[in-house]
Symmetry: C2
Subunit: 409 residues, 2 copies
Amino acid sequence: METRRRFLAAGVGAPAALQAASRQRGYTYAEIEKMLARGDVRGRLTRDDLPTPALLLDLEAFEANVDKMAKYLKERGRAFRPHGKTHKRPEIAKALIRAGAVGNCTAKISEAEVFARHGLSGLLVTAEVVGKRKIERAVRLAAKRPDTILCVDNPENVRDLNDAAAAARVKLNLAVDLLVMNRTGILPGEPALELARLIESLPNPRLMGIQAYAGQASHTIGFETRKKVSEEVMGQAVQTRRLFEKHGLPCGWLSAGSTGTYNIDPEIDGITELQPGSFIFMDIDYNRIGGADGPVYRDFRNSLTVLATVISRPGKHAAIVDAGLKAFSTDRAFGPEAKAIEGITYSWAGDEHGRLNLEKATAEVKLGDRLEFIVPHCDPTVNLYDRIYCLRGDRVEAAWRVEARGMSQ
Amino acid sequence: METRRRFLAAGVGAPAALQAASRQRGYTYAEIEKMLARGDVRGRLTRDDLPTPALLLDLEAFEANVDKMAKYLKERGRAFRPHGKTHKRPEIAKALIRAGAVGNCTAKISEAEVFARHGLSGLLVTAEVVGKRKIERAVRLAAKRPDTILCVDNPENVRDLNDAAAAARVKLNLAVDLLVMNRTGILPGEPALELARLIESLPNPRLMGIQAYAGQASHTIGFETRKKVSEEVMGQAVQTRRLFEKHGLPCGWLSAGSTGTYNIDPEIDGITELQPGSFIFMDIDYNRIGGADGPVYRDFRNSLTVLATVISRPGKHAAIVDAGLKAFSTDRAFGPEAKAIEGITYSWAGDEHGRLNLEKATAEVKLGDRLEFIVPHCDPTVNLYDRIYCLRGDRVEAAWRVEARGMSQ
């Protein structure tokens, strides 16, 4: 059993006497292992008890990130539908709802199924659902959670969805996915209008509105340039919304936005909701895009790290840690960054190893030392771990299961 | 329950009548889901039934790879201890033992624990075990499986292991890990000799011999250059072995070798065993190192693929598949390769998407098409999946759980 307390609340999980006892005597690994297997740590463990590599969450930073985003969007009258592909954990999705979210996004049907099984509704599946089996699953999901929204960009797929919905006597909420980055979607303007008309002409789908996710805008380096890029592509989305309305098609919903454009898109008239994901954890990739107030994007705090142990010191300036290609996502051009010590350079050294260059390190690094690293890219890193260990200071307050880990189907 | 048949055997899992019935009527997704949840498919499903992205294993190619490596090493009188970090599945490790392996390697203690729990012995943990908790686990493992071998490269760590072994009244088999690539290990020659003497001087460790894994040799492009590199670094390992023996230290064991040097290292006198991993699955990375007979390394067959579905066709020459950064490892400079159709270029398009350039494709690619991709790097790709679907032709013969997935601790 994991902690049942609302994670945004302060305080500790274990009675003070128990904690004091733990600090005094320490646990054997066999005892720690049992707690970890049950996911029931109740504040009895510290960071030093965790087996490395371990994925850590700084709860204070995480809670501050959730609060900030929810408040920012609420003040600007935009709905908040955070992306669950970042954390893949239904309990986090529920906490985001409590913070004010109208629902949660998932990337795929399998992720949405896990969220629905844990009682969540308000699901937006952001990738197209194509193929007989996936459509069966989408229809089943919509029967269970009628407010689910699916994205479409192809007339053949719309007809397939309509037929499956008819057979199951289910209505489907469909959003037209716009091609506003080099990925999925249909061209804005007339092609999108035609697809919207098709949806409206069929008996089982309901036209929900437009999804316009522009990943290239979110990751544009430099606030002013990013603002310009997002305004330009979102302008096409808003124009398409107006075109739908001009032709009498319902389009009261336009979902856009991301962690990188959370303070840009709400200023654009016509966007009704944002679907940011990474802001809860943050990563080096987002730190590098720059903020409105300086070259490093610090609007949200880095709450996620990987804890690793130095297992070899093969040279004066070299250390090897036990976290490599299986402990971090590797899809960015840069590696992890040590959190507490400046001047350390990490480089990949295989599936299970990372190499640290200590030549410019501002502190000593010894065999057995445990170091935290900010991750290059949060979403695919979380997808490597079955558990996230939640810390308040040095104390492990909870061990959260990542229930939808690996659910990319 | 997964298939209990020896996977190297031929034949089918389901009675012919049942199969014929399945093909005639087809299953609903709800029925398929139940089979997949139980891992009990018994040849009743085909490739088309699997939810994508899915990790597929071509059993025929896999079995041929196992047979070839086992036979090759046996004929040359070298022990075969394949690396379990590639597949992370105890049943595969057991099958390798049946094929002639003396044991199996694991990268970390957590992986070894899973293997031991499933009854395996003969475990070599190839990364150093450092820190109080990990040492507790290593000693517990050695108590359970006394033939376990651990690698060391540091005197302080050797003393810690000795102390923990003394407290638990356990003997530990220690191998001196040599620094023959830019990673872990102690320098060959005198430094290694000194560490070996320390091991022999202490009451609880037993000196097993030397581990010399040279990843840079394995991945050297071009057979002749690779041979030269491996002979040079393995020469240092063999000399160190002779140095140990000259000083009366037992060193009847020298573990080296890999998929890339399987036909190089057995010719080097003094190497007693090889620890190849990737040969069972293969990947683009290994295909590119070149073989003794040509520019592509084809000594082992590509048995592992990721099956993906085309979920969008955003342009004349563009297709988007549902497999991205969470479906493939991304640690190489190249992306996945389509298996059946020539002229397709895959590029990363986010956590959940891949972009195909079809301009030079030799066949049509339609919405809903399901394509197999050879993976850039097999080990970290397997680590993303909870299941491997085993195919013989188009039939899914088994759905194997990857029990030690995520076990990098």
